[in-house]
């Protein structure tokens, strides 16, 4: 029971901790208030509890495809919100942040963390709820505490190691992590669509399970961090690349297509002046 609880909760925590750590590190550049974090955590937790409670009904939607569709929706929203947040941070002037863009960034951060917490939270709640009132509850809770602490610790260390680096390095690291995360989300959402046969499954393009098995500790850590999959199908890989491109594109686009500054028209002086 225990190692299983550790892995299950660690994976879910790690995903959220990674996102929170990177977004916090990014937001130091934006100089926003960090109010979005508690808002997203609390609201996400509440909605996760409601969804976990109603999972029986949700699962039956669309001919037993409701669960997958809901999760795929959350994952797609996370991917798009990450791209938008990255675009905003790339265009915000850190010396003179535009209040509108800072507010928009906070909203993106709320959406990202909210969706992530709802997604992770409902699984944790269902899992722990199933063990409540059984003799295994203590073991599962212990395992959950272990998994949560390990995930949170990795998140904290990630945040401080990101913040410790200045400027360019930090931005590159954050961008890479966010891009991989967005790719991961999009690829997982196509997987969910395959699971309900909305997207046709095709044979995997490669099999790396001999190098890094998904069951190994390394594989278990890589899965939430970069979305490691030993046997991805071509559509999954394409979705992954799309997610990564979307986010990196959002970062570099403002550089090549800078916003047109409103030029002040110089008054033409008349001859009589």
């Amino acid at each position: 029971m225990l190692p299983n609880a550790v892995i299950l909760i660690l994976q879910e925590t790690l995903e959220a901790a990674l996102l929170i750590g990177v977004l916090l590190a990014v937001s130091t550049r934006v100089h926003d208030s960090k109010r979005w974090l508690p808002i997203a955590l609390v609201s996400g937790g509440c909605v996760a509890a409601i969804l976990a409670n109603q999972m029986g009904i949700i699962s039956e939607w669309f001919d037993y495809a409701g669960q997958e569709l809901l999760n795929a929706l959350f994952q797609t929203i996370i991917c798009l919100a990450i791209a938008l947040a990255v675009w905003l941070t790339a265009t915000i002037d850190p010396l003179n942040p535009q209040p509108g863009k800072v507010a928009a960034f906070s909203h993106c951060a709320i959406i990202i963390i909210f969706c992530a917490v709802v997604r992770e939270g409902q699984e944790i709640i269902l899992y722990l709820g199933g063990f409540m009132y059984t003799e295994n509850f203590q073991k599962v809770l212990t395992g959950g505490a272990l998994g949560f602490s390990i995930g949170a610790s990795i998140g904290i260390l990630l945040f401080y190691s990101l913040v410790d680096h200045s400027g360019r390095e930090r931005r590159t690291a954050c961008l890479v992590l966010l891009a991989l995360f967005a790719g991961n989300m999009l690829s997982q959402s196509t997987l969910l669509l395959m699971q309900i046969d909305w997207v046709t499954q095709s044979p995997p393009i490669w099999n790396t399970s001999t190098f890094v098995a998904e069951t190994s500790i390394f594989g278990q850590l890589l899965y939430p961090l970069v979305g490691y999959e030993a046997t991805p199908s071509p559509i999954q890989a394409a979705a992954y690349i799309l997610g990564v491109t979307l986010v990196t594109g959002a970062n570099f686009m403002p550089r090549y297509y800078p916003e047109k500054k409103k030029q002040q028209v110089q008054p033409v002086r008349g001859n009589d002046a």
Partner: protein
């Protein structure tokens, strides 16, 4: 300028999704798996290769279970006393283990594809 490009990306993304979704699901053979006391029944069964299979999983336990398989890339929570549908395949011949992530010590099984 930016908005135009983002719009275009979103458009292509939507197009891709629409094409993917348009593949209408053909009637796939159904295999019923029942969960009772954190065990799968049947815990071992064979399916033909290169065929899409519809797994109908019925959880008779009051507690939720998560059907998971790394080899099949499948993961789905089935709450207590309810049923769920998972599509797998087409698969190449081989053995595909699956397990219940919430009770992995007992809920184990494998699919033999041949």
């Amino acid at each position: 300028m930016n908005r135009l490009i983002i719009n275009r990306i979103l458009f292509y993304f939507g197009l891709l999704l629409a094409i993917a979704l348009s593949s209408i699901s053909q009637a796939a053979p159904i295999i019923k798996i029942e969960i009772k006391d954190h065990l799968f029944y049947p815990s071992e069964f064979s399916v033909p290769a290169n065929t899409k299979i519809k797994l109908l999983i019925i959880n008779n336990d009051p507690t939720p279970e998560e059907f998971e398989s790394y080899e099949l890339n499948r993961e789905k929570v089935i709450i207590g006393n309810s049923k769920a549908v998972i599509f797998i395949g087409p698969l190449s011949p081989g053995t595909y283990p699956f397990f219940g992530e919430f009770y992995p010590k007992t809920a184990q099984g494998k699919i033999l594809v041949n």
